[in-house]
Symmetry: C2
Subunit: 316 residues, 2 copies
């Protein structure tokens, strides 16, 4: 008997700084309803779904960013999304800017089950960019200024019998993320992202943005025998362009569905969770093949350092 | 000033069980001479370059495999390759089956400098396949029977000022390999492989063999800001088919050169080692962005297990 999950990815076109949260939430409800109508069990929304990607902007007055943060979840602005999802019996993943009661700021995602309960929470572990103001550039990348590094680790949560891991945007480029989740039994990894064309200090070719995004999620899926469902906030936002490319990837590493455009777009795919079994039981049978005895350096070193000594003799 | 290395990948078409080693070595010398004529500093040969991929065959008499193993390196069969490389001032990477004086068997690769000295050695850490005889199949995959797991770790070696890491075949599918090498400053990762169409127990689509090979080496290069040079033993060998796809990949993850066929074929590309700098100093600045505090599970767990507890509160 196959174990099916109907997975939806809701790509969201640009959200401008002057879009009101109730207006944004109404848009998300429209996408949720489309996904539910097409049979979705779970809808993936992007990173920082409720607002513009404000880390591109330097604010001299730090208080100016408060409007982008959620002080509780759900709150009155977001409650209609929770209510509609519960009515429709659909779960969702939602990325947003979190401000805690203690005044801490995180780039956060939650997993909400079909009954409307928040059953999982993730705070972005790999914050890209910088904390200083860079001069003479079209935009900034201030995640290291506006957010604290995540403090919840890489959690795996139960969603009606499916083991779900979460991550956010830049996390997808770090193979440790998928591996830490897979070692806890994750079957599906959910990812929200905002990927601008221009990132200060990173002189990558424009075409390579999409390539590197897809390469990262496809390798993560393949090397860990998991599905990856990635939803981007895409297209033009306050005059800045972000890539599309929202997608669902199979444990083979192959793309099952991918957004064709850069605006609001719902992708739905019925996955068979057991598709990962032949991989987990052969080439990626971790118990049979992994070598944790030789992986210590990954958790011990942060940056690049000198080679470790190797005691080899040519003929030994 | 750019730092250049002219890198050659020598794909080797099938080597049959009845091909003599002197004959094989003469073929390799031909490829080496072509590479040197095109300016190569370093030539990458495949895994188990000197023989057929004998782990596909079950031998009731274990002594029957001895002929495939090298008891010293170089030995009289291989000395002509060392001599010619030294004459031409070219280094090389060579994969072969190693039998130690103590009777231990490894799937091994060596790095030889331009003066003909063996300056690095690697023993395959991730042995795929099985040790038992599988019935009713066109072939076996007996690396776990014929070899011991590598005991030298992931070493990084100096090659005339370039930091070189080595791995073999199945290692390329494990992101820990590239990461362990990159954390020791590796700039180029060398890989030899034999990838048959049919692997017992792994029901992958035929087209996906090449896809998964390229996905793995491209992701390894991109996520670690290294070049990857991969040489396959390819095409038909004793009636068994193996994929081609020998290639050099840039730190962007993009393929710089790839074999078009499945027979003997030399690829040469002049790389600028500093091409990796913009990546290492921004998106993949490990010191700025990695989270080893959360990677412990990668070195602590071998197989998939239960989720770790996550202490989150919805509004905290």
């Amino acid at each position: 008997m196959s174990r099916n999950l109907t997975l939806a990815v809701a790509q969201v076109g640009g959200i401008n700084a002057d879009d009101s949260k109730p207006h944004v939430v109404a848009r998300l409800i429209g996408l949720l309803e489309e996904a539910a109508g097409r049979g979705a069990d779970l809808v993936v929304f992007p990173e920082l779904t409720l607002t513009t990607f404000f880390p591109r902007t330097w604010f001299d007055d730090e208080g100016a960013i408060d409007r982008y943060f959620e002080k509780s979840m759900p709150n009155s602005d977001v409650q209609p999304l929770f209510d509609r999802a519960q009515q429709l019996g659909v779960g969702f993943y939602l990325g947003y800017a979190e401000l805690t009661g203690g005044g801490k700021r995180y780039n956060t995602a939650i997993l909400v089950d079909k009954q409307g309960s928040i059953v999982g929470k993730y705070r972005k572990m790999h914050l890209p960019g910088h904390a200083d103001k860079r001069q003479g550039l079209p935009n900034q990348h201030l995640e290291k200024k506006y957010f604290l590094e995540g403090d919840l680790g890489f959690g795996v949560f139960d969603f009606h019998g499916t083991k779900i891991g979460m991550c956010l945007c830049n996390d997808r480029r770090w193979p440790e993320v998928y591996r830490a989740l897979a070692l806890q039994g994750a079957e599906v990894v959910l990812l929200g992202y905002n990927t601008p064309d221009f990132v200060p200090g990173w002189q990558e070719e424009p075409h390579a943005k999409m390539f590197a995004h897809l390469l990262s999620i496809q390798a993560g899926a393949y090397q860990n025998s998991v599905f990856v469902a990635a939803a981007g906030k895409s297209g033009f936002e306050d005059g800045n362009h972000m890539i599309g490319g929202s997608a669902v990837v199979a444990p083979s590493g192959e793309i099952l569905t991918k957004a064709a455009g850069e605006d609001d777009e719902v992708l739905v795919v019925k996955i068979d969770l057991d598709m990962s079994k032949p991989y987990r039981e052969s080439v990626f049978d971790f118990d049979a093949h992994r070598r944790p005895d030789a992986y210590g350096i990954i958790a011990e070193r942060k940056g690049r350092g000198e080679p470790l000594p190797v005691n080899f003799s040519v003929n030994a």
